[in-house]
Amino acid sequence: MIPSLPRSPAQRALPWGYAALFFAFLFLPLAVVAVFAFNDAPYPAPPWRGFTLDWFTGGGRRTGLFADGPLLHSLWTSTLVAAWVTLLAVAVGTTNAFLIERARFRGRAALSLLMLAPLVIPGVILGISILAFASRVAQFADDMFGLELDFLRPGLPLVVLGQFSYIVAIATLTIGARLQRFDTTLEEAAWNLGATRPAVLWTITLPYLKPALLGAAAISFLMSFENFNTTLMLAGAEPPLTVLMYGRMREGASPVLNAVSLFLMIASALLALVLMRGGLRAPRAP
């Protein structure tokens, strides 16, 4: 059971055996995707026909990743959307955290619960509800003022808003948790030493929050990049990567998708490494 209790050699090996199987299961699909990015065949399927970089660089009739216009564009679109979502989520997440942890007003408890609601609403519903509402507002603007509000049609602004609507809740939780543990006597001390309120915020509180801000940013970026359900409902003419890949996978996957997947895997791993370095450790470490 636990190391301090007597266990037979079989019992001791069991957890590790299970772990090995578990991680094999976990990484099998990813490994397969990675491997078949290099297969010299028109489809990502066995048998293995030789190593090639065609799916990256292109060759013969094959459009490699770096030449696939729409794919690259969607990669860029996803990055752009993720950047915006991250910016908004961290900013609003910070104001929310201060609102919930510091301010005192009636209905604060209710508001803090309401902020968690987006996390229990299926992404699809978030998508369609925002789509419907935006359409209604756009209709209203058109009827009332004759305004053509393009950003309310399916497209990137709506995608950003849709992802933001629940990612900001996660950012709020992350930043709020850290703010809660902040020792307010530090702020009093700074105040006592002559700092103005804004200076206290800038020189003491925000530097303390920095790890949480960075963590929230990293999580927001990742979650935005890989979001599908909400994005699917709100995407317009320029689909982000996940939506584009889905479309192609339904028609018949080409190994170019493997190539872009491998690229994503490496990028995620790098981002994760930065996160690790920055201090996101396994739970319970101070």
Partner: protein, 372 residues
């Protein structure tokens, strides 16, 4: 702008602070002379922290005035008062180095970099941490952190330095050492220190003046010696220093001396404090070092009531050794300090000894007396 010479650095006039229906600070008026070390001594919950926070500006009094350096502080924000504070848990900024901590106030004021660095260096030298600029807060020992906290405040040359039980978190030896350091620092800098604590030993050792606080009021303000030898109320007598409390009824009052009898019938004499009439319920206080011990009553100085008592337990504590005695007839308990000559080092539990004390050196109050 400094106050006219001779004016107190801190003065309060009838300040009151209420929380709900309860007055944490009930109409306090006092003044602290320039350059002195003033302690406010009291048990937890007596309101001393509230008082300190009002002086610092973190809380506003419900009534009354606070003047620092002669200026009224009503409506003045904490960061604008000529007051700095050393917090109970020090509140050093963990994300900054020692130099950045000490320089913080100067930087906020816009002092030039070179000048700031110079002053930080000078201050660190004066508090005994030369060259510690680059160290991180978590690398420092308890005593070193104390010194950084003090340096951080003193570098701003405040009129008043407030200290909120700063030695509480330190272990005994370090605390004893820091008491001496604080006293020396205050003398060297000449800044007025206002120090709050519940530890009467700290207050006595460090201060020029001590105010004993209880339930929002000062029971007595005076020099440590005055508090120790001439307590004005039963609370002060019991709180400052160790004391034996003997309750009873006054049977006769002859001038300054009160004769009282305990419920068990023991007759004692003590010096009167305040007005006492025969028949009043009274409390007498005898300090452990005031009582005299002898193996044989004949060895004691004549003229004072002698008690026979058995040794209940021996409390060996080096030079602070004491013995708990139980009076033979009435069972009254008495704590008596053992003389430091080692005369009674061979005392055994169960032995009978003779005890007496000079009534002039014991004080007696009417029960429930409150000081002024």
């Amino acid at each position: 702008m400094t106050a006219p010479p001779g004016a107190p650095d801190l003065e309060t006039r009838a300040i009151v602070k209420r929380f709900g229906g309860h007055a944490a600070v009930a109409g306090l008026s006092f003044a602290v002379a320039r350059g002195s070390f003033f302690s406010i001594l009291g048990p937890s919950g007596c309101g001393k922290t509230t008082l300190l926070r009002m002086i610092a500006g973190f809380q506003q009094p419900d009534a009354g005035e606070i003047l620092i350096g002669g200026r009224a502080m009503a409506g003045v924000a904490p960061n604008r008062r000529p007051v700095n504070m050393v917090f109970q848990h020090l509140a050093l900024f963990p994300m900054m180095s020692v130099a950045e901590n000490v320089a913080y106030g100067l930087t906020r004021r816009g002092v030039a970099r070179a000048e700031t660095a110079r002053r930080v260096e000078a201050m660190l030298e004066r508090v005994g941490l030369p060259g510690a600029q680059a160290r991180r807060v978590h690398e420092l020992s308890g005593g070193q952190k104390q010194r950084v906290a003090i340096a951080r405040s003193l570098v701003l040359e405040p009129t008043l330095l407030l200290l909120d039980e700063p030695l509480g978190a330190l272990d005994l030896k370090l605390r004893e050492h820091m008491k001496i350091e604080l006293k020396q620092l205050q003398a060297a800098f000449g800044t007025t220190f206002v120090y709050i604590t519940h530890d009467q030993s700290e207050a006595l050792v460090l201060s020029d003046q001590v105010a004993v606080m209880n339930a929002g009021r000062f029971e007595q303000v005076g020099s440590p010696q005055a508090l120790y030898y001439e307590p004005l109320t039963p609370f002060v007598a019991g709180f400052v220093g160790a004391n034996n409390r003997l309750a009873g009824q006054a049977t006769a009052v002859n001038g300054d001396i009160v004769e009282l009898v305990t419920p068990q019938g023991l007759v004692l004499r003590a010096r009167r404090r305040g007005s006492i009439a025969a028949g009043d319920a009274v409390e007498a206080y005898v300090r452990p070092e005031v009582a005299l011990l002898a193996r044989d009553a004949a060895a004691l100085p004549p003229g004072h009531p002698v008690l026979q008592a058995a040794v209940d337990s021996l409390l060996f504590d080096g030079a602070n050794s004491a013995v708990l005695l139980r009076e033979a007839r009435t069972g009254l308990e008495l704590r008596v300090a053992l003389p430091q000559t080692g005369q009674f080092a061979d005392l055994r539990v169960g032995e009978t000894v003779a005890v007496t004390f000079d009534p002039e050196r014991a004080v007696c109050f009417r029960s429930g007396a409150q000081g002024g």
